[in-house]
């Protein structure tokens, strides 16, 4: 093996790449083609035929635009909530935590160690009608006497926010941690107020983290269906719920495939606009 590699040095990278890239090509890229193929079929299960059925897309859009828009609205609200909640925490860990730094980073990733579905189900316990949160909110009249948190938009968005919080907090921490504290001292020496130093020095320098965190939160959140399924009702149903049900329950593969395509296409378009706004170097790192 050593002899062979020595004689054909130019081949080494391709030999290293071949198995992994082949896997990604076969099971990531090729399936995208099949998704397109399936989305243009017509007929009923199990007799689908490829007929360039572009009307699948317009029918899917007119039937399910509510769920599609709702997905992006929920994902958008959750992303902003994550950013607002995670930024001060990431800032504290990066600049003030001292010896507690690694422990707090472990706290941030700890939710990942609890099965996604189970930690979402835990919010059922917390937000339950007979639970302490609802009781307190009813007592202080934030909620009416029969008001509830479960099966509401609030519960679904809160669930998404909780579940994707670490995806926001970690990139924020990484970019904040790289800021040279001397830059903030320089700002102070030049008579900048703390607020101004934060807005003019810290925030711009943490932009890569904000961009990465926003993408890592928004993209999976838009395709999520677990929070809507467990914490919401059909009124909170997102595009992921529809795709999942069409594939596995109503066996309407063409509609499911076109909805998947629409979801991905919309995300790509948003990504391109985002890249234009923040600069494409920041997007790919």
């Amino acid at each position: 093996m050593g002899e062979f590699l020595h004689r054909h040095k130019g081949l080494t990278p391709y030999l290293l790449l071949a198995p992994g890239m082949l896997w990604l090509a076969l099971f990531f890229l090729v399936p995208m083609g099949f998704l397109g193929y399936q989305s243009l079929q017509s007929g009923l299960f199990p007799h689908f035929q490829f007929t360039w059925e572009f009307s699948n897309f317009s029918t899917a859009l007119s039937d399910y635009h509510t769920q599609l828009i709702r997905s992006f609205v929920y994902a958008g609200i959750a992303t902003v909530a994550c950013l607002v909640l995670a930024y001060p925490l990431a800032y504290w860990i990066a600049f003030r935590a001292g010896p507690w730094r690694n422990l707090f980073l472990l706290f941030i990733v700890a939710p990942f160690f609890v099965t996604y579905l189970v930690r979402t189900l835990a919010w059922l316990n917390i937000l339950a009608d007979q639970g302490p949160v609802v009781r307190i909110l009813r007592d202080i009249h934030v909620l009416g006497p029969n008001g509830r948190l479960l099966a509401t938009t609030f519960a679904v968005v809160a669930g998404i926010t909780y579940n994707f919080f670490p995806f926001m907090a970690l990139p924020l921490y990484v970019s904040l941690e790289q800021i040279d504290p001397r830059l903030l001292e320089a700002a102070k020496d030049l008579y900048s107020s703390p607020t101004k130093a934060f807005l003019r020095v810290t925030v711009p320098l943490s932009m890569p983290g904000i961009v990465a965190g926003t993408l890592l939160t928004f993209i999976p959140a838009a395709g999520d269906f677990i929070n809507a399924a467990l914490l919401g009702t059909p009124n909170q149903s997102m595009i992921g719920n529809v795709i999942q049900a069409k594939f596995l329950e109503s066996l309407d593969y063409p509609t499911a495939a076109s909805l998947s395509f629409i979801l991905m296409g919309t995300i790509l378009i948003m990504l391109l606009i985002y890249a234009k706004v923040v600069g494409s170097e920041k997007l790919t790192g």
């Binding site: 099971f27 472990l106 160690f113 909780y162 993209i219 395709g223």
Partner: protein
């Protein structure tokens, strides 16, 4: 209002409220960090707490009475044990394969100049920026259109998991390789070792921590995955699929037991790592 007036009247001794307020203002960020961590830990605490609950009916939503029974008879719920075993099998196999493939890609990207490097980077980046539902459903259409040559089950789950783990392995190992001291390898080569020996004796041992970290991440991603698995599992039940199925009826406390056990194993590994890093940092400080 009254507190403010009182504070003005008696400047030498501010009221308790004022002092508390000043303390909070000075440590506001610390207080916030602790509250935020409390928010992150709350559902975990609830999961563990309800694993000790003895629910009166079949719904484990409200605290009733403490019991160890769920832990002692964790596998008394039909299907839970086989689902957990299936999850561990898939995670082990998929992690081994994906780690090997991912490390090779990372080595090629960082160590070599070749045509198609940009494309390779893009293909590795794409799975991480695609929603799971899209990856899961496109893979499903591949299998559905295979005209029966591929049956949904264990191996389709395995294929899917390797696919989405590879990218995370590449990213983790790449980060380590970029900050890597090449002089050690050059020294080995100068001393007459060929490329393969150098790789085995120098590169691999130095990369071991990163490979281990990547493998642990891959294992965690695999054992936790629901969306892609659910679409491509056919009749096979992994632990998350089992939870999904039983959540439509009533979740027994045994589900909390298994989730708590997985959490505890992971957190012990994580804490060991924190202690290890802390000691390593202390040792370096002591040396200088």
């Amino acid at each position: 209002m009254t507190t403010a007036v009182e504070t003005l009247a008696r400047p030498p001794r501010p009221s308790v409220a004022t002092r508390a307020w000043r303390f909070v203002a000075r440590h506001a960020l610390t207080v916030y960090a602790i509250l935020a961590v409390g928010y992150l830990m709350l559902p975990i605490a609830v999961v563990i707490m309800f694993s000790f609950n003895n629910p009166p009916g079949k719904f484990n939503y409200v605290w009733h009475a403490f019991t160890f029974d769920n832990w002692l008879h964790w596998n008394s719920v039909l299907g839970i044990q086989s689902a957990l075993v299936k999850s561990l099998e898939v995670a082990t196999l998929a992690t081994l394969v994906a780690t090997a493939l991912g490390v090779m890609i990372a080595l090629a990207i960082v160590r070599h100049r070749f045509h198609g490097r940009g494309t390779t980077n893009l293909v590795v980046f794409l799975p991480m920026s695609t929603p799971e539902i899209v990856m899961g459903s496109s893979l499903l259409t591949l299998f559905l259109n295979s005209h029966g040559t591929i049956q949904l089950g264990f191996w389709t789950i395995f294929i899917a998991h390797v696919m989405f783990i590879i990218s995370f392995v590449v990213v983790t190992v790449k980060a380590r390789l970029i900050g890597f001291d090449r002089h050690l390898e050059e020294a080995a080569m100068d001393l007459g070792a060929n490329e393969w020996t150098t790789f085995q004796k120098v590169t691999l041992p130095l990369l071991a921590p990163a490979i281990l970290a990547a493998a642990l991440l891959g294992f965690a991603l695999s054992i936790d995955d629901f969306v892609i698995t659910y679409l491509n599992a056919g009749p096979v039940q992994t632990f998350p699929i089992f939870v999904w199925g039983i959540a439509r009826v009533a979740v027994p406390p045994q589900v909390n037991v298994v989730a708590s056990a997985i959490f505890l194993v992971a957190i012990i590994l994580g804490l060991a790592n924190v202690v290890w890093q802390y000691r390593a940092a202390k040792a370096t400080r002591g040396a200088t």
